[in-house]
Symmetry: C3
Subunit: 152 residues, 3 copies
């Protein structure tokens, strides 16, 4: 692989890691408008069997009553560093997320999830085409999201 | 952008990510001397309205009674992967941190904070010029630290 | 340092970060077979004074009764981004890990540990030669794993 291609792959990884690292700060700042910029126009965010958001609906995520309650209490959406598997103009990233909520003098983990991010390279940069997440509550769904498949 | 410049930017990101990744292990090892090396000589660490440390005072952070109590109980300062925004010889990074403290047979999240790291390139490498952090307790201060502004 | 060498170092860092990022998803998916691939053939995983696994025994980690109980309850092995110190064909990485277990409607941190990863470049890529971890319970062992030594 020539040096130009190798540098491109490193830049792809850095951009994808950065894109995913922006999710937590954006939702905890309550900036729904910024949130939709992480996804492609027709991208979707599927949360277990509970929710499916597409395109502009993603902007509204931070306006949900559940999220507003989180913000009022104090919340941190902490995501672990993703494993990133590149495949040309597509990529898959897998990581964990924990939603920590202020309760009394402490924070408690109210949601802990497995995440699989499907990404694609758009003219404007890498975007999320689909984020699938599921609670790590002992059910099979979350474990399937975490299971390794592709390799970069 | 030529390949040399692109590689330099990737190295900058890697060095900044590494600098921030060193914070938690250093404080949990109780190595205050190492801690000050992360900051520039006149760098500061501002924690909400509670504390402001500058320069050599940062070395003393691990000697504070509160921190010694953390170390005696068992503690983990876990930081999430930062979003890094480069701007030449300056950079801003944003992430979350959680301080987990041993209590009985479990660990509890005693502090969960938003962090904004302002960094600058010094002759000896990237250093923190200012770290601002605020508890994610529902107040506006932490949300402002997380709100996106610059883009790399 | 020439550009080829600089790109190689960045690739080494990315590959090592990815290797470590795969640990959590693999164990939380219960895929012990995949787990052993992270280690070299004679690699070992030493957990405080409790456990020492070598080579193929690592495959069996996810079959342990304690781990099966974790999977049944719902668990997340969340690891922080490692500091990575490269030294040619060897590397050391240091990070934190937290095992979050579903309990009632919440997740609790059942184990929080310091980790030191010793890695080596093999013909097939970077592999873990030894992972040492210790609970952050106030004892000296964990603090020693976190203390910085080498610099990259």
């Amino acid at each position: 692989m020539d040096i130009e291609h190798r540098v491109q792959r490193l830049e792809d990884r850095a951009e994808i890691a950065d894109l995913i690292a922006r999710y937590g700060p954006i939702v905890d700042a309550g900036e729904g408008g910024q949130l939709a910029e992480l996804w492609s126009d027709d991208g979707e965010y599927v949360i277990g069997d509970e929710y499916r958001f597409t395109g502009n609906q993603i902007t509204g995520l931070t306006e949900l009553e559940a999220h507003q309650n989180y913000l009022a209490a104090g919340c941190a959406h902490m995501l672990s560093s993703p494993q990133v598997m590149l495949d040309g103009d597509c990529a898959v990233a897998v990581n964990h997320s924990a939603v920590l909520i202020r309760e009394g003098q402490r924070w408690v983990a109210d949601r802990v999830s497995a995440n699989r991010w499907e990404l694609e390279r758009k003219p404007e940069g890498w975007r999320v085409s689909r984020r699938s997440s599921a609670l790590l509550d002992g059910e099979e769904a979350a474990r399937e999201l975490l299971a390794p498949d592709t390799r970069s």
